[in-house]
Amino acid sequence: MLQILLNGIVSGLLVALPAVALSLTYGVLNFPNFAIGSMITFGAYIALFFNVDIGVSLFVAAGLAAVGLAAVALLIDRLVYRPLRGADHVTLLVASIGVYFVLENVVRFLFGSDIRGYDVTVARPHRWMGLRVNNEQILIFVVAFLAMVIVWFILMRTPFGRAMRAVSDNPDLADVRGISRNKVIALVWVIAAALCSTAGVLIGMDGIIDPLMGWNYVLPLFAAVILGGIGNPLGAVLGALIIGIVEEMATLVLPTTYRQAVSFVIIVLVLLLRPHGLLGKPRISR
């Protein structure tokens, strides 16, 4: 039971990183970025390229992946989302679905469709009070926690974080406050890319790397963000942890193939019972 809880928290943290990214981009750009799944995949593959093909350590490769994915995200924003700025969110959602397919297929074109893995030595799991904990899980825990603290700090304690929340709250007013919307959007993409590529590397370390790895996270991600309250990064973290734990728990009673269905059920229940999510104050909009 405790083992399941632990596994659930770890997989929840893996969902939490991109869930925060999704929540931030939703808040500032006002559309659900479906391409988040392929951003995870793309980040994982950039790290794979540096780690396996070039031969640098995975730690350095992860940093390079964050930088590389940020550049890709900024390029996509320039080419796709900026011309559509101000379009309604369905248009942007459909555009992001297009971006998803393009990115996934770029990965297939460059790296092939085979299952790959990072160049890391596999260590024996630790045993502690009857629990089995492997190094990857500890790393996921530490990295995800740190990443979330950093994002929280940026968001709540720095001028740029305030600017991000201001644009998310009232873009026109942010304009007349001298806040450059394009700079804020660029910063959001950089943060989102760093979170996604970090998640991609951690997922790849814990499991496998293939072009569909991000796709498998799209549903739980959206479930986490909806559960936590759309556009609320803290809620996204909470939602992700709950999704992770519930999915693991569900394996006690359901065959593992139905795991993804759990996310769906949660989305449906939240939308029926508490449409503004767990941490949703219904946003003040009068």
């Binding site: 305030r162 304009d175 003040i284």
Partner: protein
């Protein structure tokens, strides 16, 4: 005579195909309160949006303190010294009062050191805001929210403050307080240009009246003269410009 603080010339602006504001030209001299009046649909909101840069004018020029800011976007105009209080949605509702004030300052005014002085100045004019920095701005009442919006616009020491119907949506007992606040801000040395529907109350504190009708500036005259004008109706409805021509 000294150069006016704001000089608008041949300004055209609008959405879609037609121009809503047509060839607008007027000046705002330093230190006073100027009020743009006009019937509904005259293009007042479009004019003010064009002035602050939320709508980029199609042609014409906007000279602020000798510098053409016509083609600048809103953030650049804000940094050039143009303050603006929108009619509605004029505070960040999901941020605290303190954060609202901070945001109003930090991206416009270059020196961080001046922040607390600027905040104290705003607190002097709006003592209701003191001690409430951690409250969420969205929980304020309509009148208090208007005060916060006003205070925020003052934070970076704008050289000209634009107000879009400051009394709109306020209960009558707040309207008086609002105009008193406008006067107080002006007395503190900030030049003000506002749009107002409450013509009588607005003119009581204004030096200059600017009449906008059907997208055109019909007249600019001292407020006192405007209130005593024999035929305000004609000014609004457009007969005035022809009569002036006949008289000339």
């Amino acid at each position: 005579m000294t150069e006016p603080l704001l000089k608008v010339e041949k300004l055209c602006a609008g959405y879609g195909s037609g121009d809503i504001v047509k060839n607008a030209g007027f000046t705002v001299s330093e230190n006073g309160i100027s009020t743009i009046v006009g019937p509904n649909g005259a293009g007042k909101s479009t004019l003010i949006k064009a002035l602050v840069g939320l709508l980029i004018p199609r042609s014409g020029s906007i000279i602020l303190a000798g510098k053409d800011v016509g083609k600048m976007n809103a953030p650049a105009k804000a940094r050039a010294g143009l303050g603006y209080v929108p009619q509605e949605h004029n505070v960040f509702r999901n941020l605290s009062i303190g954060e609202n004030m901070m945001l109003a300052y930090e991206f416009i005014a270059p020196d961080r050191a001046g922040f607390s002085a600027a905040r104290d100045r705003v607190f002097d004019i709006f003592p209701d805001l003191v001690g409430r920095e951690s409250d969420l701005a969205g929980n304020l009442s309509g009148g208090q929210r208007q005060m916060l919006a006003f205070g925020c616009a003052l934070m970076p020491h704008p050289s000209l403050l634009l107000l879009d119907e400051p009394s709109a949506g306020l209960s009558p007992k707040y309207v008086e307080g609002m105009f008193a606040a406008v006067k107080a801000v002006n007395d503190a040395g900030v030049c003000i240009l506002m749009i107002e529907q409450n013509v009588r109350e607005a003119m009581a504190i204004s030096e200059t009246a600017i009449v906008l009708a059907a997208g055109e500036i019909r007249a600019q005259m001292p407020a006192r003269e405007f209130m005593n004008h024999p035929d305000i109706h004609a000014l609004y409805m457009g007969a005035a410009s022809t009569r002036q021509q006949e008289g000339a």
